[in-house]
Symmetry: D2
Subunit: 283 residues, 4 copies
Amino acid sequence: MQSIRLLMACPDARGIIAAVTEFLARRGGNIIDVDQHTCPQHGDFFMRLEIDPEGFEITEDAFPAVWAEVAARHRMRWRIGWPGHRKRLAILVSTAGHCLNDLLFRWHTGELTAEIPLVISNHDALRARAEAAGIAFHHLPIQPNGKAEQEAQIKQLIEQTDVDTIVLARYMQILSPEFVASYPNRIINIHHSFLPAFAGAKPYHQAFERGVKLIGATSHYVTDDLDEGPIIAQQTLAVNHRDDIPDMVRKGRDLEQWVLARAVRYHIEDRIIVSGNKTVVFD
Amino acid sequence: MQSIRLLMACPDARGIIAAVTEFLARRGGNIIDVDQHTCPQHGDFFMRLEIDPEGFEITEDAFPAVWAEVAARHRMRWRIGWPGHRKRLAILVSTAGHCLNDLLFRWHTGELTAEIPLVISNHDALRARAEAAGIAFHHLPIQPNGKAEQEAQIKQLIEQTDVDTIVLARYMQILSPEFVASYPNRIINIHHSFLPAFAGAKPYHQAFERGVKLIGATSHYVTDDLDEGPIIAQQTLAVNHRDDIPDMVRKGRDLEQWVLARAVRYHIEDRIIVSGNKTVVFD
Amino acid sequence: MQSIRLLMACPDARGIIAAVTEFLARRGGNIIDVDQHTCPQHGDFFMRLEIDPEGFEITEDAFPAVWAEVAARHRMRWRIGWPGHRKRLAILVSTAGHCLNDLLFRWHTGELTAEIPLVISNHDALRARAEAAGIAFHHLPIQPNGKAEQEAQIKQLIEQTDVDTIVLARYMQILSPEFVASYPNRIINIHHSFLPAFAGAKPYHQAFERGVKLIGATSHYVTDDLDEGPIIAQQTLAVNHRDDIPDMVRKGRDLEQWVLARAVRYHIEDRIIVSGNKTVVFD
Amino acid sequence: MQSIRLLMACPDARGIIAAVTEFLARRGGNIIDVDQHTCPQHGDFFMRLEIDPEGFEITEDAFPAVWAEVAARHRMRWRIGWPGHRKRLAILVSTAGHCLNDLLFRWHTGELTAEIPLVISNHDALRARAEAAGIAFHHLPIQPNGKAEQEAQIKQLIEQTDVDTIVLARYMQILSPEFVASYPNRIINIHHSFLPAFAGAKPYHQAFERGVKLIGATSHYVTDDLDEGPIIAQQTLAVNHRDDIPDMVRKGRDLEQWVLARAVRYHIEDRIIVSGNKTVVFD
């Protein structure tokens, strides 16, 4: 994460890669890694570059203006991540702590290169785990008819702490469309099924009733359509007739924490471009 | 497959295992393998035994009468497979040959211990593969408004050849409820998605549109509800944004043939008990 | 874990299952689950039963004497686990905390039904994690030429706390043959490779040098032969040319904690029979 | 496979990507796909480009001379694959036919975009399968002390048919160092274990004896050091105590054919760069 990450999406055309790499080479930008994809169906071009900051002659402040001409010529959506700027995460939880425990441990080891200024919950159950990691824990219970108010409190905390990414680590509340609209492609959820199978409530119960031979977990960006946002990562695990619902819940915890951690890592390392309702993940 | 396979399902109660094993021991029946499962949710008891035919004192003809008392006392559904009796399969195909090629190769190596008296298709495309294996190939095209007639032809062939199991190895026709009702738990299908996701037509197209990160395949017994029958086996495989629909089709072939072969093997080795809309698979 | 677990291994013979199940049925022992295996190569018979304690007429104290006749007749090695007796684990660690964190979280959720009276380490680094879980942490550094003394301290702690199982959760010391001999099939290790590949030191470095496309982890019982004990569980994960050694270490942590947790669960639920240098795992 | 594939390896330096992409852009070469990797350990740079032949102004004959300057400046090893030139494979087999059956089926469907002018075997067992695919089958038995002579016959056939790649699809003979030296990085083998575990003969027997919980398969380029060549692809599959050696052989067939097919596909699509004893696989 010492490198500059430059991501772009635009209509495909001849010479984009040459234009970009030549632009960078002229300004001392040594490319450490390039990953690129063209979607023939939709004629979309996607690219992610890692650039060595050593020797790169454009400063963070100057970049947008200097880059504007290339970006405009190719009608790019683009963004850039600079080494000094770690993503700032708020983790939202309810009572199940496995994803929180896992994320905090990965953060502790340096695997997740982000700042985590706070954990927010509608319950007080996971305070100890957050505080053991030295992270502020905010208990924001939801009063009867008080959901809007609670969401306003969350928003306030997020603004105060300069958070840019919200991780729903088994947060068992449905966020309002207004809340979701405030953070496009910045809220990451973990759903405990292989979406689109078993959307909605109690997916392990649904899976048990249907008699599937695999259970799954899906991490996705949150949109207005519940469980319908762009998928970032998925994984499955075998089950059989011996696995009743508690077994699925137990096995599923491993899946959930693993899939969510992967999605969070992709997000904070600027590896994801959202395009329509799908993701391009450069891993 | 030199052993006798005895399968049973009944309401759970004390002493079933002892009653069964004592019954067998008294009659010289040495148990080579026992696999048993009790479902606490529904109070169901399931058991599969493999018995050494050497020394077993009950003949095939006599077994039902001798066993009747134990079976009745525990209100069992049961069935027995004798060493001499291999399942007899009809394989139905259309134009995609990967599952047929795979099944015939496994049959050729002795991995699938069944008889395959015939392959039936609504197209003539796979005649050479079947005949190269020494298996009769029947081309039964579907005329306009002729589906009922074609199904009647299939039924006739199945009866003539004493087939007990129908394998839909990418047979791209929906069988009529009447046909399906004639072969309960005896028609095995392969669907090219991780059901219940992407039921119906063109699952890889659906998967591509949704942007999933895994594709799957599901083998199940066919019932009146399309793609809703009891699931026997499932598997998934990772895909990413680089995989367009032809890539999914290509990767999916591996999944499909592997999952179907597994389901067929479970079926012919008497490893499956259907219970409600689910399967118990003793593997 | 509310059931009685009865495990046995003996030379194969006719009628063992009937003898055992009849023995139990006569004494009110309802069998909830039976899993059995006969190894044709070596003529060995293995069985694991779960018995409902409700209605079972033999007490824990009386069992050995009552059972002795059946066990002797079939020359059985056997053991029994009673509902009240949870395994008691000592977890040994050095500085890497991922396996400890994972095991303690699983214990906290009730997934690992064991007692963990203490964590022992040759470093002080993981004290906080153990103590946050309410578990005593013992820092036993190794002085120059002081290994024997430190092992004596470990043994003393283990005896004082009535521990029956030692879990090496990335404990980076080689235990002496004397120590190992004191706890046969009671020390569980996690090795960070797919054994027998890359035994010994720095397996990820070895894997990187060899250019393998998968990394692995292996959990096994510890014997005198380093990395040669009976294998309990293994798993692999894809790597490619982009993964350097730190990436392998990062990905490997997931494997290691997952494989070790599985092995510990099998052990504490009395699912393992060691036979020669191999394990039968009834899962 | 309608695109031009350009692969290069060289010492890492600033501006290589820009130099290459600018070179191509100036000559009408539109880059469809770029995949690049820098190995920080050894300072190596690797890149694979797919170029649209439409509009590319350099002909196949002219390319080496025009490209020479860029290649020399960066001290590149490089190669280029043109759309018209499919790899030409000789498949060598003995008696086990699963890999041959699988490769020929994939070739038949168009998944493997190569020519297969001949199949060579030291046995006559698989003649029918090759000939059913319309491929010449050469039975070259090995007489006592006749190995050198048989290899000379193989070489002659390979030269006559203009073969560039030799696929050992369970060919159970060890090729001489002289033979191997003639085809560097052009002989692909499948070994039925997860190398480096269980190199040498009878790997499933070795795996059974060791009691591993996974079996594997490894595809690699053949070098003088038996089972030590650069690994292209590997996969593993779970086994347990119920799996005896014939079960491992059966399960292993799926692994072997799947891993070998993947390696062959990578090779014929020019996705592999060998570097030292390792491979970079751009998939």
